[in-house]
């Protein structure tokens, strides 16, 4: 199985050292900020901020660039589809005018549509950057601890941390089942089989994998029960530390961004209602 993008051990940089709750708070508010705005003046600063944060995390750039290109082109294909189906798609979101930039036979690209598609791409990429920064800065245990810090019931948080604990076991089981099926004569070579046959063969591995995984519920649940899991109403997390000075600052920033977002929605979208985005023209 390939390497995950999320780290399991905490990294060395400043952002890694923030507590789980702070990271989840920052992520939540910034994703909310991204989703509510369709405005280049709000999105571009965040995009640059995320880029700076990403650089400060010293990630494995090969993976990051591969992911970025993948997401970029996935969304680009989407945009081209939007444009092909309705070349006027931008008019609803920008201004009612139609200024043709270039035309190819029946198809044309108007300035409004181009602007709209550009901003949508920026918005999707900003949302992706916020997520990626968060994913690279946090570990699964911190994520669970952070969710608990925000008031989720800890049984739900356990789902997250336990699920991550279980993923290497799944990988192990998968390999074992694959090897034993190969020993019984199942062809696994990609070059020798067509797609449909390969799908069917994969199913032969997946069904035992799924069933054996669920068979283990009893054992794990007993082990947890023996350690008195679920006895008390509260829980502390080993991965979570006391908030430091930096944590307090960043939590304050997160709350400020949230307040700003609500103020923005209240003043820009609800009253007076504005459906059109800001344009330079």
């Amino acid at each position: 199985m390939k390497q995950f993008v999320i780290n399991v051990t905490p990294g060395p940089t400043f952002l890694h050292h923030l507590s789980g709750k702070t990271k989840v708070m920052l992520f939540g508010t910034f994703i909310f900020y991204t989703l509510m705005s369709f405005d280049v003046r709000l999105l571009l600063p965040l995009f640059i901020l995320c880029l700076v944060a990403l650089i400060s995390l010293k990630p494995n750039w090969k993976v990051v660039i591969a992911l970025f290109t993948f997401i970029f082109f996935m969304n680009l294909i989407n945009l081209v589809l939007f444009w092909l189906v309705d070349p006027d798609v931008g008019q609803y979101y920008t201004t009612d005018t139609r200024t043709i930039l270039l035309s190819l036979g029946n198809f044309f690209l108007s300035r409004e549509t181009f602007w709209y598609l550009l901003i949508r791409q920026l918005k999707l990429m900003t949302s992706f950057m916020v997520s990626l920064t968060f994913i690279l800065a946090i570990t699964p245990s911190e994520f669970a601890a952070g969710l608990y810090g925000l008031g989720l019931p800890y049984k739900v948080c356990t789902v997250v941390s336990l699920a991550f604990r279980y993923i290497p076991d799944i990988a192990n089981d998968y390999e074992n089942i694959k090897i034993s099926l190969q020993a019984r004569g199942l062809e696994m070579d990609k070059r020798k089989l067509n797609l449909f046959k390969r799908l069917k063969d994969n199913l032969f591995i997946l069904l035992p994998l799924i069933i054996s995984s669920f068979d283990r519920i009893g054992n794990i649940a007993n082990a947890l029960d023996l350690r008195a899991y679920g006895l008390l109403k509260k829980r502390t997390y080993y991965a979570e530390h006391e908030p430091t000075k930096a944590d307090h600052v960043f939590r304050f920033i997160a709350i400020a961004v949230l307040v700003f977002s609500f103020a923005w929605i209240g003043s820009r979208m609800i009253w007076p209602p504005v459906t059109q985005m800001w344009t330079p023209f």
């Binding site: 199985m1 989703l35 369709f38 996935m74 309705d86 336990l162």
Partner: protein, 192 residues
């Protein structure tokens, strides 16, 4: 065992067993979503992950299936690293809820109760759930979050929904029959 009321059936009882089951379900859902799919359309996969809510729902009920699907999708986003697309996580959660309604219409996999009647209801609910989750909920959230061209957004969601229905009915129903048969053999004592 006394009969549970409706709220309990929907919520499931959140004991340690349920927590572990949902966690394993979420882990498998995440892994299968990343590694166990075939591309159908932009943003859409024919994924075997859809088998997970079937099992979690059958064992624990609709809300655990919802949690398993939502967090499974979040976990897939975390290990895949392609960012969070909550419109799809929410859609998957809603679908998980519908698929997990199994105990509500009398199917009880733990005791080996799963008949042709249940299979038909299951297929109908799967279609309905997909129509609602990917025909209404996900496109609405996509439009709310990102805006976009209505037709394409619906088309994407609906191909996702259609491929899910395919996996759920073609693979899910035989799986349920197999599980029920397996559990039935350990429950052959007759109460007198």
């Amino acid at each position: 065992m006394q009969k549970k009321n409706l709220a309990q059936l929907i919520l499931g009882d959140w004991n340690t067993k349920t927590v572990v089951g949902v966690a394993i379900g979420a882990a498998l859902f995440g892994v299968l979503m990343v590694y166990g799919g075939v591309k159908v359309f932009t943003n859409t996969n024919l994924t075997t992950a859809m088998l997970i809510p079937v099992i979690v729902g059958a064992l624990f009920g609709p809300v655990p299936a919802l949690v398993a699907c939502f967090f499974g999708n979040v976990i897939a986003d975390l290990i895949g690293g392609w960012g969070f697309w909550f419109d799809w996580s929410i859609g998957n959660g809603v679908l998980g809820f519908f698929v997990g309604l199994l105990p509500l219409y009398g199917a009880d996999i733990n005791k080996g109760v799963f008949t042709v009647k249940h299979a038909v209801i299951f297929a109908l609910v799967a279609i309905l759930g997909n129509a609602l989750a990917f025909g209404v909920v996900t496109p609405l959230f996509t439009l709310l979050f990102f805006g976009g061209e209505l037709n394409i957004t619906f088309l994407q969601s609906l191909t996702g929904g259609a491929s899910n229905v395919l996996v759920l009915t073609v693979l899910g129903i035989p799986l349920l029959f197999a599980l029920a048969k397996r559990n039935a053999s350990s429950q052959n004592l007759v109460k007198e």
